[in-house]
């Protein structure tokens, strides 16, 4: 009963946060006007608030849901609750891609495209290395290769920071790396929306097969599943979604680690429940972080910074309470 109430509250929460986020700020709009504007006929103020604030809210929803779904899938198939969605070096790869584009003086759209390509390239390299290192536990090889490509991409990113022009490029680069949901305009959102949606759709389509992968390769194969092929599909979905999220928002950590943990407490470990619940919680968490980033005076606090600042203590609370209740 208590759990059902909590679930109901969490299902309703994003809608409430969205209404607050749309209506508050220098241009305050009542909720009723906003709802009418969303339905297609509101006041000019409400229309303006929507056009200004909606892209940012959609970005937060996409990024939060995207990395949380990817994190849940990775935690399931690697049987490791500490695994984050950038396990295969995606964040560092995307960071390098974006940095290279900023240093080359290219526009925001290209920066996001380069980040996406960099993330995919890092994950692809990790997968390729793991394929070369045959024998042994394939999951362990993947984690090790992810650490290697992540370190390589981090070194290249540091090189970009080193050679960046210090007065315009370096601040832009640093700000990009800190993460924000405010970058995309409505017209640019598709860059992230399409890959995130297709990555998550692929993961959801795998369904209970993720549970089989969680049992290990031998058990999965004994139950008739082509484990390596399905693991590659799951990694592809999670990587696509994570890369696109990093491309549009910069490096925003913790959501992909935290949301699946919270979701597991509420719905348990079955992929068919855990994935949607993680996506929902991740989207909610990102929305809240985005609201908080605007709450501290006129200057916006980077969302990546807040996500870690809120996420790390929250994770600790979750961890302590779950280990006490023995779950």
């Amino acid at each position: 009963m208590k759990r059902a109430l909590l679930a109901l509250a969490l299902i309703a929460a994003p809608f409430a946060v969205i209404l607050v986020a749309l209506g508050h700020g220098p241009l305050a709009v009542p909720a009723g006007d906003l709802l009418r504007a969303l339905a297609g006929g509101g006041t000019a103020e409400a229309e303006l608030a929507l056009s200004l604030r909606l892209p940012r809210i959609v970005t937060a929803l996409l990024v939060g849901g995207g990395v949380a779904g990817a994190g849940a899938a990775f935690q399931i198939i690697f049987r490791n609750p500490l695994v984050a969605p950038d396990l295969l070096g995606v964040s560092a790869g995307a960071g390098f891609g974006a940095a290279a584009a900023i240093v080359a003086g290219l526009g925001m759209l290209v920066v996001q495209g380069a980040a996406f390509a960099g993330g995919l390239a890092a994950a692809g390299l990790a997968l390729l290395c793991a394929r070369l290192a045959r024998g042994g536990d394939p999951r362990l090889s993947l984690v090790l290769c992810g650490i290697v490509t992540g370190a390589l991409a981090s070194a290249l990113l540091a090189l970009m920071l080193f050679i960046a022009e210090p007065y315009a490029q370096l601040p832009a680069l640093t700000y990009w790396l800190l993460g924000s949901f405010s970058r995309a305009t409505a017209g640019e959102l598709w860059i992230a929306a399409a890959p995130i949606a297709s990555g998550l759709a692929l993961l959801l389509a795998l369904g209970f097969r993720l549970d089989l992968l969680a049992l290990g390769d031998e058990q999965a194969r004994s139950l008739g599943l082509n484990a390596p092929a399905f693991r590659r599909a799951a990694i592809a979905g999670a990587t696509l979604s994570t890369s696109a999220a990093v491309a549009i928002s910069g490096v925003i950590g913790w959501i992909g680690l935290l949301a699946p943990h919270g979701a597991r407490l509420i719905v348990g470990s079955r992929a068919n429940l855990l994935l949607p619940a993680s996506i929902w919680l991740g989207a909610l968490f990102a929305l809240i972080v985005d609201r908080l980033s605007l709450a501290f005076g006129p200057a916006e606090v980077p969302a990546g910074l807040l996500a870690a600042g809120v996420g790390a203590p929250l994770f600790l609370v979750l961890f302590v309470s779950t280990s006490r209740s023995g779950r």
Binding site: R79, F208, L212, L215, S222, L223, G224, L225
Partner: protein, 239 residues
């Protein structure tokens, strides 16, 4: 369902090998695989399951064989009912979810295994004996024509051991080919065939294999047979 055939099958990995094995097993066969620790029983079972590639020879198995590792090897945070229902994964084609029919089959199998009350328990919090019963219930819903069980009663108490022995015999009686690796010679004596993983490997009926001379050669100790019951046991030659 057709039979399991192995010809000149050599198994092993990483420089270690065992064999060659020649097997021809018909449906309902119950086979015990015996041999010292490290002799290659697990490698033989995993090769028959298709999880290890044969080093030489051939093996033909009908359908997808099911391999069960020793008790306590599988970690899963799922409910018992879900874990058993996952045994029917292969029947779901491309659908992302299991259906009510799968859960119903799982309930029936849990009842058969005598653990219907555990349906909602979390698998990882059960004792290793209960976990083993759950996994055997999964073999029942999986309908795999070949079941390969790796020391299914290792570390279990006598009562759980007896329950699992009975279920394993039921699996074979339902038409499956059941191959069990074991150190329990009393269980081997109840099987249709016994395979020794030694040098050379031998295949025969319990009466042919479970003899003091064969066992002494296999385990490297002295073997005696009980004058009253005829059961063979191995005693350490150093004693």
């Amino acid at each position: 369902m057709s039979g399991l055939v192995a010809r000149g099958l050599v198994v092993g990995r990483g420089g270690f090998r065992a064999g060659p094995f020649d097997l021809a097993l018909a449906p309902s066969a119950l086979v015990a695989v015996i041999g010292p620790n490290g002799s290659g029983k697990t490698s033989l079972l995993k090769t028959l399951a298709g999880l290890l590639a044969p080093l030489a020879g051939m093996v033909e198995v009908p359908g997808t064989p099911a391999y069960l590792p020793p008790p306590g090897s599988i970690a899963a945070e799922f409910s018992v009912l879900h874990l058993v229902a996952l045994g029917r994964a292969a029947k779901r084609g491309w659908s992302p979810r299991l259906v009510a029919e799968d859960r119903e089959a799982a309930r029936i199998a849990l009842a058969q295994a005598g653990i219907a009350t555990l349906a909602d328990a979390v698998f990882s919090r059960l004792s290793s004996g209960q976990q083993q019963l759950v996994l055997i219930a999964r073999l029942i819903v999986q309908e795999a024509p070949v079941c390969l069980l790796d020391e299914p009663t290792a570390m279990l108490d006598p009562a759980q051991t007896a329950r699992i022995d009975r279920l394993v015999e039921t699996l074979a009686a339902s038409g499956r080919i059941v191959v069990v690796s074991t150190h329990r010679l009393d269980f081997a004596a109840r099987c249709g065939f016994v395979v020794t993983v030694g040098d050379p490997p031998r295949v025969g009926t319990p009466a042919e294999i479970l003899r003091p001379d064969t066992l002494a050669g296999l385990y490297g100790g002295a073997a005696t047979s009980c004058p009253a019951c005829g059961q063979v046991s191995v005693v350490n030659s150093d004693a």
